[in-house]
Symmetry: C2
Subunit: 240 residues, 2 copies
DNA sequence: AAGTGGTCTAGACCACGGC
DNA sequence: CCGTGGTCTAGACCACTTC
């Protein structure tokens, strides 16, 4: 009688949501026990395998931890390491008002190295724009983005002024961003960047070259970013 | 008749191993289709759920990718992003002879900030040592490490000269290292570091503050590293 | 239409943890 | 000892992709 899951969302997801909700509103705190597989199966009137599925994949997402013979327990609050976030998302997470000024917007056709990183033909037309990022009215970072002009038609300076690039791509163009590969090093501020970031020239900056991929594995954005190292610390988690 | 898994390893793991073996020896190449759940179930004489379990968790490990309606396919060779590696491991991966000079070795008892990062009492005794790292006879990085003197008795300068810190901890002290959290920024080289690294003072350096944890979640090493940014690029993958 | 993965059932036995 | 998670069965229907 699999009629109870006819409402669209799978049963195991409804079980997960019920648990996540209780974690979110504080009814379940880190270390607290979650119902056992058998209890969940009874409560939600599903089979053991389904209740199990719910808990196993909650564990994979780091929300709970499971110990054989003991039970399933709420995991310590999630630390968002290695999360690909848009500038706006990062800033709102720190309750700083994100601001962004588009300094430059153009079409380029002769940037073969960057085209290669985006898996485009060497002389492909790409949209390029430079943005100055500010937080609390202080310049913070300088970013240059490249995207295929063909894949993202109608991309305009005015749109970027208003809206986050990430939400634009995900909502207007229906591209689901999945991950980014980054190369990070340090470099002295050149006179132009120094002026825009309002720092002395040759101040050390974090330099990040980023290729952002969407869910189907295709590279879609190349970003070259310069970050004031007095205002920006990169947090990374590595695994053995 | 769950007798076939009586040999110790679970059936789903035996199925995984059989697939991984064929990937490793080239019988299955990236993009090739793996048997469907139903085929695997028939071949290995298990139920669908068990064959499914094998494939689902192979996918979670990034070895295959599954597409509904299409099949399960061998994933492109794994790129080792965000891997915590010792200096020796990194260098041998690039076939550079790793060298390391211990510049300083001492016991400190008054470094409360660092003790706190290692979850130790504020005035805990810690071993501190500084190492200059070289690759191809060129100085490359400067690292200062802190460990609890109590947890790692008998740690000596002479041992460090010979052996990698990671293998020492994992083999002699039986600590399984699990992950590291890193804070990364850029900083100008102070005169002392500049001299040791043989670069002009105020050259931008990558600065990394690392807390390395072992499998039980306990922090065990604190490392402050300065890396020549002309010789070192950090590679990071972030996920959405 | 045939074949694939996604969800699900209603049970079962085992290994392990804590009492 | 009892309850927990770990493994497993032998089926079922659905949604999706490919042809």
């Amino acid at each position: 009688m699999p009629a109870s899951h006819r409402n669209g969302t799978p049963a195991y997801q409804r079980i997960q949501l019920a648990i996540l909700k209780r974690i979110e509103n504080g009814q379940l705190r880190p270390g607290d026990a979650v119902e056992s597989e058998r209890d969940l199966a009874r409560i939600h009137r599903v089979s053991l395998m389904t209740a199990r599925h719910a808990l196993v994949s909650l564990e994979r997402d780091g929300m709970v931890s499971r110990r054989r013979g003991a039970g399933t327990f709420v995991a310590p609050p999630k630390i968002h390491f290695n999360r690909l976030m848009s500038f706006s998302e990062q800033m709102s997470g720190r309750s700083l008002s994100p601001q962004s000024r588009v300094l430059h917007f153009s079409i380029v056709e002769d940037a073969p190295e960057i085209a290669a990183r985006l898996a485009l033909p060497a002389r492909a037309r790409m949209v390029r724009f430079d943005r100055l990022r500010l937080g609390a009215d202080e310049p913070f970072a300088l970013e240059t983005c490249y995207l295929s002009a063909q894949q993202f038609p109608g991309l305009q300076r005015s749109t970027l002024q208003r809206e986050s690039l990430f939400s634009l791509l995900e909502q207007k163009y229906g591209r689901k961003l999945a991950h980014a590969d980054e190369e990070i090093d340090a470099t002295p501020a050149d006179p132009h960047s120094a002026h825009l970031l309002r720092i002395p020239r040759d101040t050390p900056l974090l330099r990040m070259r980023q290729v952002i991929y969407c869910a189907d594995g295709q590279p879609v954005i190349y970003v070259l970013g310069l970050y004031r190292s007095d205002r920006h610390t990169l947090l990374v988690r590595r695994y053995r």
